[in-house]
Amino acid sequence: MLALIYFIILGVIAVGSALCVLLSKHPLYGALSLVVSMLSLAGIYGLLGSPFIGVVQIMVYAGAIIMLLTFVIMVLNAAKDGKTPMFDKVSLFVIPAALVLSGLVGFVLVRSGIAFDATAVRGSVKLTSETLFNVAQEGPGYFVLFEVIGLLLLSAMAAAVLMAKKRLGTDNEEDK
């Protein structure tokens, strides 16, 4: 019962801030609403018994990604673009479609009758790290995948640096 109450509170916050993202004019506001949404989702993770993911969510999403986003928004002066309309004809077309789609999916979900399993494991740090890094266990495991993801991040970083380096440099000099 208590869990439900917490869930409703957090869920309302999450959805509300998500709507804020949708409706905010300046991207900076959008980014801040997004942080709120992320944080409340982290709370829900904890509520569901996966605290580790919740922590990672806060650290990576709220801490890193959104910070990066806001930083870029602030660097680029023209991020608030008055001329660009918030919505246009396509939006009018998309919104109903997305709503209908989610309605349909929701309909199916509700009909599917899923329920929590009492024996589901709690996603603690210990369990997660054991699962991730245990090389001895049978099957493919996640270790290789983990390393690959590391490589991916590295290469993404390199790519980002390569792409943005030159323009940013000149840009900064011009600003000063």
């Binding site: 980014a31 990576v60 959104i66 986003l69 899923i114 995948l145 790519a159």
Partner: protein, 104 residues
């Protein structure tokens, strides 16, 4: 009234829908990126929610995969923002409609 698995899924669905709407209907490129992040978050939530409906060992995978999703999202945001910067310098615009470079 206890917390039901379906509530989590419905919440994920709502956030996903909002994410999609943001990503597609907003023309500002930053909102597009943020919409994608929202949608990814919703998917993560759905993963975790579903994993809790499975018995013991099988419930582990659903709680590991979001980690990878988050990592990929980080990479995506990284590259995406770099591209935004690049395109912005070229076009002086954050309107995604101005970015169409694809010849049909």
């Amino acid at each position: 009234m206890e917390l039901q698995a379906i509530y989590v899924q419905v919440l994920a669905l709502v956030i996903f829908a909002i994410g999609i709407i943001v990503a597609v209907s907003r023309r500002n490129i930053f909102f597009v990126l943020m919409g994608v992040e929202l949608a990814l978050n919703a998917v993560n939530l759905s993963f975790v929610g579903f994993s809790k409906t499975l018995p013991e060992d099988m419930s582990i995978a659903g709680q590991i995969v979001p980690l990878f999703t988050i990592a990929v999202a980080a990479a995506e945001a990284c590259v995406g923002l770099a591209m935004v910067i690049m395109i912005f310098r070229n076009r002086e615009s954050v309107d995604s409609n101005d970015f169409t470079n694809l010849k049909g």
